[in-house]
Symmetry: C2
Subunit: 271 residues, 2 copies
């Protein structure tokens, strides 16, 4: 039996979600009519700010890789926080934490980037065991942050599959106060038990491209939202890799509409 | 049949290793009589420099978590490079890269930390598939850097086990120009095929401690080097978490000797 989440609106799902960050996200998605997240992988502060301001109206989540920014400073994240407020989107630092609990605590809270101080959502590989969740939770939960676990990856030859993915779901179920969902390619039905409403954010989404030479592979919004039952499409260079600002807007709108139409089809509200 | 590496000296193994970084490491281990690596997880620049200078004579590898340092700047890594030259040790930034190839390239080369410019060795989780190795190799190989893959982890409930570990070994075998070995708890015999001489670096080593509340677990140098056939012991707070500099030296020497005695026993040169 398919879980009821698949045919509910994001607003209906927000009502029963007990994580403040997930609730806020689900509500703004319906309000702004978008399930689009853009992964902004550029290396100059000024470009990030300019692109984030252009994309603001079209996205629910801005995904960052803060550690590729050449001229990073705390002013960058202060500006991003203001843009997030202005346009109503959440910030998701795609840090892919992957160390033991005691180390990730420091990496999340401290260092140069102080990720926990500005990023609403971050993510982690479950590979070190549940200690990684506990470590991050000690820092993030008091700040109303949320965590996604990497259950699957879209890259070629990924080892996140099979039992690994199922073990990831089990870890998440034991930590639903902080873990709000997954980075994954498919909603996992887990022997029919889908009692917990997790969010699925799916990278590797493209309307035209086929992949790159370093193993990245792409799927369409329809495949991701309708066929695979995921919730948010993550698009990267397919949106911001445009010739000018007007074309970035155009592409953002094209992806927003494709993701939203797929969602309407899934919940039975199309046409 | 046990592989011959287990009873060879590090110098003998250096002669047949074709990675410049691994060769240098194996040679300095025999020269300095140490297979000890210290994981230096402190958050102040001045402490790192002070401790690294104290530890220098006792270690073959200084393991860093550069992204927990509150007052990081490039002067820190310049100083560490000078200490590495003065004391003859290698620097290993324990970044645990875990993203797709195109992203890790930027994370390794750029951002605030510019890891590839100062860290002899770094490591990666194989989970995204082989693209992660290719991405890192494009940056690191021209700089004579080397990569370790995380084949196993010492933390409780780790998902790096079984087929995952075997798949990791296979990826390494296809990339022996850049992948010099593993972070792991045991030398993997892989159905008897041990034709490639990989280095095994093993964290979670302690002489007295039992673990921490966030899932870290400990084993002794003898277990790691003799019973499990690994090459380098990684010790953390067990060494630098001492009351003063004299006690840090004393603990470093105790761990160095324990690791070295275990190695001599393994190669049959004890007493």
């Amino acid at each position: 039996m398919a879980p009821s989440f698949l045919t509910q609106t994001y607003t209906e799902r927000a009502k029963v979600n007990n994580n403040a960050c997930a609730k806020k996200l689900l509500e703004l998605m319906d309000k702004k009519k978008t399930n689009l997240s853009v992964a902004i992988d550029v290396t100059k502060k000024a470009d990030i700010i300019r692109i984030a301001d252009i994309l603001g109206p079209y996205i629910c989540v801005l995904k960052t890789h803060i550690d590729i920014v050449e001229d990073f400073d705390m002013e960058l994240v202060e500006t991003l926080k203001k843009l997030a407020e202005k346009h109503e989107f959440l910030i998701f630092e795609d840090r892919k934490f992957a160390d033991i609990g005691n180390t990730v605590k420091h990496q999340y809270e401290g260092g140069v980037y102080k990720i926990a101080s500005w990023s609403d959502i971050t993510n982690a590989h479950p590979i070190p065991g549940e200690g990684i969740i506990k470590g991050l939770k000690e820092v993030g939960l008091p700040l109303n942050r949320a965590l996604l676990l990497l259950a699957e990856m879209s890259s070629k030859g990924s080892l996140a599959k099979g039992q690994y993915t199922l073990d990831t779901i089990e870890m998440a179920k034991r930590n639903t106060d902080f873990v709000i969902g997954f980075i994954g390619q498919n909603r996992i039905y887990d022997n029919g038990d889908d009692s917990q409403d997790f969010l699925y954010l799916t990278p590797g989404v493209g309307l035209e491209t086929k992949g790159d030479s370093l193993g990245q592979q792409y799927r369409t919004p329809h495949q991701v939202i309708v066929e695979s039952g995921c919730d948010i499409i993550i698009v990267g260079r397919g949106v911001y890799g445009a010739k000018d600002d007007a074309e970035i807007k155009e592409r953002a709108e094209k992806y927003r509409k494709a993701g939203w139409d797929a969602y309407l089809e899934r919940i039975g509200q199309n046409q």
